[in-house]
């Protein structure tokens, strides 16, 4: 039970759920949350490899910390974009954002 493949399967499931969410949800905030899920999946991958395979245990954790930092920054930028979009269009539906295609 406590083996590498368990964690990898979990990470893959999380990543796929996140991908599904990004592709399928029309709500921009939902998409942002789904991206967080994908990042979480990736982070679990790093941690699992770090725990079972790496000779130097700190590397995976550092990368995960970076991922979390980037996720925070991304959430801040993404939310502000969504806010700006909402002000413009009174909606956060991604289909409305098609108008941006010009």
């Amino acid at each position: 039970m406590n083996s590498l493949s368990t964690y990898l399967i979990l990470a893959a499931m999380l990543f796929c759920l996140g991908l599904l969410g990004v592709l399928q949800r029309r709500n921009l905030i939902g998409m942002l949350i789904a991206i967080e899920l994908m990042l979480g999946g990736a982070s679990i991958n790093f941690m699992a490899f770090n725990r079972f395979l790496a000779p130097e245990p700190a590397v995976g954790q550092i990368i995960t910390l970076f991922v979390m930092g980037i996720a925070a920054a991304e959430a801040a930028i993404g939310l502000s974009i969504i806010l700006a979009l909402f002000r413009q269009m009174r909606s956060i539906n991604v289909e409305r954002a098609q108008r941006l295609s010009g």
């Binding site: 991908l19 990004v22 592709l23 399928q24 029309r26 991604v94 289909e95 954002a97 098609q98 108008r99 941006l100 295609s101 010009g102």
Partner: protein, 645 residues
């Protein structure tokens, strides 16, 4: 430019040929609005050309050797294409003829074309015509000859279609151009053959080489036959003779120019120009002889059935050209050229006279002209009679001598059929010429003609006395040509010596001895030819001239033949039919279908393809974020599949 004037001969040749071209440019660009000035420029330039031609002729009369100025336009070891000037007796004579006739016609046109709105344009085209013909005449190489030959065709197209607002005139111009082009294709192919096979287009060179049997026989025959196609087109020989009668749609002075010295003469001139080349191929000569004969007889029959003044002379031109080709084809170089010379004189005369009648009575119908008092116009009436006598070949007019020369050549031919054809032609020529003369001069007053008194009074009013400058501008050239026609024949001997040159004098001497041997035969021939002409005249007199003559040709008794002759042996209908079925029905419809289906279809297809793919790919650019992402993920998935499985 000083080098040009160091040599007066070269300077004269350059000025004589290029001045009309300059005149055309000046008229077209600067002086179109001023009609008098335009005519003045054009006439001044052609008079200068005439002076240059006379100067060259007198200066080089005794030169003996041809003077040649040439620049090699294309020269490789296998190819020699000269451009420049070749002044030998033949070209000098022709230069003189062309310049004289063109000059007279232009002076005449001042009267004939007076008041025409396109007066300046007319003179510009006349100058173009003169330039093209003069430069063609003194071409040293076949390519230059060909280029100016086409320019002559262009100029005649412009002049025949001069009254372009008239449908038949523009059609006639087009017909002349297209039909002669048909022959020119053959001409050009012949030149290409010659260029590929022999590689030299200098006229003197190919003449010498062919005479010396340096060119292989089959090559000579093929290229001579192909080049003869050009003669057929240009000189209106059978089967391409129908354009010439239609060319009467142009103004009459144009017909005079076209029929005597320029357009149609170009064909015969070209043939005599490379006569030794033709003579090297007996087959080509035989074809030329046969085609000339057929043309002469056909055209004579056509001339017997028409009532149009100009048409008669047009058919007679065709027939006389056929006669020249016969003379050349039978090996009579001098005879052909001499007839070309005399014919230029008297045919220009006949047309200019007809022009005066037409200008006066505004009709082409010889019966109407006769009944309106055509004979009261003394100058053209007498001159036209002189011209008709010359055309029939009666002593002492110029036509007599040249026709006699051709008959002599034909008599030496082993096959006597040609001689009898020639005599028959002479008979018919005299008949139709005097049919016309009697119609005009001795009219039968018919009640069917309306306003006869008026017409008569009109003619009398405009008798010789009460004419202005316009009349005399027309009368002087006519009188000049008439006097030339009277005396030109007596210059046969010097011209012959001039043309055939010093070395041929010995040959002429030999021929003279031979002639002495056949002296009896010669007189029989002379009597036969004159007899035929007189018989034709008498025949016309019986039917049209004498009092209480029926004024109906014998053709009225053979309606079928008359219809056949009047419809030009159905040649036009044949061409129409051939054109409709072959070209319009066959080729053109195929081309149209090709154009519509294949070319248009292909282009439309390409357009539709572009639009369709654009429409399809525009789905991808929906701006829908998640589709893009989906495609990206699918792409990455496929790449992964490719690499890991």
């Amino acid at each position: 430019m000083m080098w040009l004037f160091k040599d007066p001969v070269l300077a004269a040749a350059c000025t004589g040929t290029w001045l009309p071209f300059l005149a055309m440019l000046v008229i077209l660009i600067f002086t179109r609005r001023n009609q008098r000035l335009s005519a003045g420029i054009s006439i001044a330039s052609i008079v200068t050309s005439l002076i240059c031609a006379i100067y060259l002729f007198t200066k080089l009369f005794h030169a003996g050797v041809p003077v040649q100025y040439e620049v090699a336009w294309a020269m490789t070891p296998d190819l020699y294409v000269p451009f420049g000037y070749l002044l030998d007796p033949h070209s000098l004579l022709m230069l003189l003829i062309v310049a004289t006739i063109a000059c007279l016609v232009q002076i005449y046109s001042v009267g004939y074309m007076a008041g025409d709105p396109g007066f300046s344009r007319y003179y510009a085209f006349q100058s173009l015509f003169a330039w093209a013909m003069l430069t063609m005449v003194i071409a040293p190489g076949m390519l230059q000859l060909y280029i100016f030959w086409e320019l002559v065709g262009l100029a005649s197209y412009l002049l025949i279609g001069y009254y372009y607002e008239k449908y038949s005139a523009s059609q006639a111009g087009k017909k002349a151009f297209v039909v002669t082009r048909l022959g020119d294709i053959g001409f050009f192919l012949g030149l290409i053959f010659l260029m590929l096979g022999y590689g030299d287009l200098g006229i003197l060179n190919i003449n010498q080489a062919a005479a010396g049997h340096q060119i292989p026989g089959p090559l000579v025959t093929i290229s001579a036959l192909l080049i003869f196609c050009g003669v057929i087109g240009k000189s209106a020989q059978f089967p391409l003779l129908t354009w010439l009668p239609d060319a009467m749609e142009g103004p009459t002075p144009v017909s005079a120019l076209l029929h005597s010295a320029t357009m149609v003469a170009a064909g015969v001139y070209m043939m005599s120009r490379i006569f030794p080349f033709f003579a090297a191929s007996p087959d080509a000569m035989a074809v030329a002889l046969a085609i000339g004969t057929v043309t002469m007889l056909l055209a004579s029959t056509m001339a017997m059935a028409t009532y149009d003044l100009k048409q008669v002379w047009a058919y007679s031109t065709v027939s006389q050209l056929g006669f020249m080709v016969m003379g050349l084809g039978a090996g009579g170089y001098f005879a052909g050229v001499f007839h070309l010379t005399t014919h230029a004189g008297f045919k220009a005369l006949l047309f200019l006279c007809s022009g005066m009648f037409i200008h006066e009575f505004h009709t082409n119908d010889m019966r109407v002209i006769g009944q309106s008092g055509g004979r009261n116009l003394k100058v053209p009436m007498i001159s036209m009679t002189i011209g008709a006598l010359a055309l029939s070949g009666l002593f002492p007019f110029s036509g007599f001598f040249s026709k006699e020369a051709i008959m002599g050549v034909l008599a030496q031919h082993t096959n006597k059929v040609w001689l009898f054809a020639g005599l028959l032609g002479a008979l018919m020529t005299a008949y139709y010429s005097f049919r016309l003369i009697f119609f005009v001069a001795l009219p039968r007053k018919l009640a069917t003609v309306p306003a006869e008194d008026h017409g008569h009074g009109h003619g009398a009013d405009h008798g010789d006395e009460h004419h202005g400058n316009a009349y005399w501008a027309m009368a002087w050239p006519v009188m000049f040509l008439a006097s030339v026609t009277c005396v030109l024949g007596f210059f046969q001997a010097p011209l012959e010596q001039f043309l055939t040159g010093g070395h041929a004098a010995a040959a002429a001497h030999g021929a003279g001895q031979e002639g002495a041997g056949h002296g009896m035969g010669h007189y029989v021939l002379l009597a036969g030819a004159i007899g035929c002409a007189l018989a034709g005249l008498a025949w016309a007199w019986v039917e049209f001239g004498r009092k209480r003559a029926p004024q109906e040709g014998f053709l009225k008794k053979f309606p079928l033949a008359e219809i056949l002759f009047a419809r030009r042996w159905y040649l036009d209908d044949f061409y129409r039919k051939a054109l409709d079925t072959l070209v319009y029905g066959g080729l053109t419809s195929l081309f149209t279908r090709n154009d519509r289906r294949v070319i248009d279809g292909a282009i439309d297809g390409i357009c539709k393809l572009t639009v369709g793919t654009g429409r399809m790919t525009s789905f991808m650019q929906s701006g829908m974020l998640q589709y893009n992402l989906l495609v990206m993920v699918a792409g990455i998935g496929l790449v992964l599949l490719f690499f890991f499985i």
